[in-house]
Subunit: 358 residues, 2 copies
Amino acid sequence: MNRATIRDVARKAKVSHQTVSRVINGHDSVTPETRERVTRAIRELEYVPSAVARSLSSSRTHTLGMVTTDVSDHFFAEAVAGAEAAARKRGYFLIIGSIEPGAEDDERTYLRLMLERRVEGLIIAVPRLRLADDDLLAGAATRLPTVVVASDIELPGADHVDIDNRKGGFEATEHLLAHGHRRIATITGPLDWPSARARLDGYRDALRRAGDGTEPLVEPCLDWGLESGLRAAERLLATARRPTAIFAQSDLLALGAMSALRAHGVRVPEDMSMIGFDDIPVAQVFDPPLTTLRQPMREVGELAARLVLEAPEGARRRRTTRHHVLRAPLVVRGSVARIREESDQHAAKAAVKRATRL
Amino acid sequence: MNRATIRDVARKAKVSHQTVSRVINGHDSVTPETRERVTRAIRELEYVPSAVARSLSSSRTHTLGMVTTDVSDHFFAEAVAGAEAAARKRGYFLIIGSIEPGAEDDERTYLRLMLERRVEGLIIAVPRLRLADDDLLAGAATRLPTVVVASDIELPGADHVDIDNRKGGFEATEHLLAHGHRRIATITGPLDWPSARARLDGYRDALRRAGDGTEPLVEPCLDWGLESGLRAAERLLATARRPTAIFAQSDLLALGAMSALRAHGVRVPEDMSMIGFDDIPVAQVFDPPLTTLRQPMREVGELAARLVLEAPEGARRRRTTRHHVLRAPLVVRGSVARIREESDQHAAKAAVKRATRL
DNA sequence: CGGCCTGATGTGACCGGTAACATAGACCGA
DNA sequence: TCGGTCTATGTTACCGGTCACATCAGGCCG
């Protein structure tokens, strides 16, 4: 039971296939009665036009491709949703290749699949550097409008969209400093992610600027998840001079850490202030509600799709790279408190000790 | 700068286009040296075969379509990931249409887009009934292998994959009953979702079977989210005879409810036992860790894709519908406690009162 | 040594649309 | 009345692959 074609419809309606094509595409200059005959034939044959044939002859696929890190990461899932919505609003279809952890070779496979399908634009949301020196990607970027999301990858002519991670890290740390904290630890994401490094840089910036006995205390993790946060917090609790505040680079790291703290009888925010990054929905119903930085993930995706679709055509393509950076505003909730006297003294004592040692 | 075609490669390698095709498809009966010449030409021209043209002539698209409810729902996001993985393992590409809340008309649009793209199979993961009487869908289901996920939609010849929600609801309630609870409320998802109704049925089954002064107390919500859970819990706290346990039909509803309880000074599990449904990752780091039912969402998606791909071809198609039901096992954590004496008396007193009234 | 088989390669049609151009009336003004 | 313009429709080629079949050169066998 094969699908009817445009010629089957034409035969049934006793017109030429071209007239059918005109009806389908809402072309004017078709007599109402002819149009009606054709429409009926289409309905009776359950004709559905073939996007495949249409793409081949018109060389337009109306399809965008997005290669992303595993969408089980909240950030990327939202970015995909945003890109999808923006694409669809403009009549485009988004096909997605989500790279699962451990299957990083799929990056190339996906990219290739998308090029074979003749996508008209590319969004690359892969933070790691593996793809960077790939000639397949480089070639694609010169032919197609390409936007790189949340990544360092350098591609001539490709625009970048990202969160201002450095500033975010800076503001998170400043917020803790403003509450009197001096011993501030950070739990980072994987340091081969540009976002993790940038947030760490922001953290360092803030501490450096504060001077005054502050000192970086960095606890890196291999992923952004709960488990890692939990273990990182346990390592921090075991250190000689325990911090009074922790800046976790993701909400999941923060929530994992908080569960470890709870298990050890350390209260948040009384004994330990905590700040996250992301603003995932559950952050606000946690106990205490998590102070964090909201990442506008959906907007990142939307902006990426818009840039791809509005890129100038062919010869008019720019060779310059533009960076679009979105702010991640601080959302103050209940997980940060002013440092307690005791801890203050503790910190002060520690500072003196350190000063003496130098 | 347009893409090279198979004929360009042929010209450059001084062979016929058919030979190039043979090389691309790894066909044997090509001399090693010819193969080498062709391969070099492919590389030099940066030739990438066109899946569009290939699909048109071979009438195989190697594409599956999945129409789902908004993937911001954890269940559907995981199901998509599972289906994607299963499809890809078999050399298929999954294209996704995610219906956002409020844009339910898109169902048809997406379905149509997928049919136009000549998908070779369909996964319909749309719980609401809107699509049910759609002739487009019905027609598609007779032509293509189709699987319906987490939905009541009746389609001749389409298999169904779902969670055993009724049993899940039953077991959740039984678990609470086993801890001595008698006044057990349930916070449901939207009751036009089959899963919500089935869980509610399971809850009722368990109460009915327990008899003995139990009585349903149903608090329905319009979505599955935190906010709704929060407000539902507030309504429950305001009722005259406050329940001692709540079965929330999703983890988000449960977490939202717990945040409301906390705000009202009601401790979980001491004053109120709580059980969820889903087992989202953060459930285990909550305070207390949430007892819940784990939905094997990934497996649902994988199974759906497998069924689509392994469906018998054409004439051998079954007209019967098979239902595949996956268990949602109980995950015991810390949010359910044995009922306290005081509440026990309370419940007993209430039971007597009710008996008297009858 | 001719016939036949086999492996390597080439030829032309075809998949189902779109694009460009052709054609045939109808209408219209000079 | 006639050429020109406009509208409705038809004709043909083409997009870039695959498919079925044709061709051709060796090798083997009787």
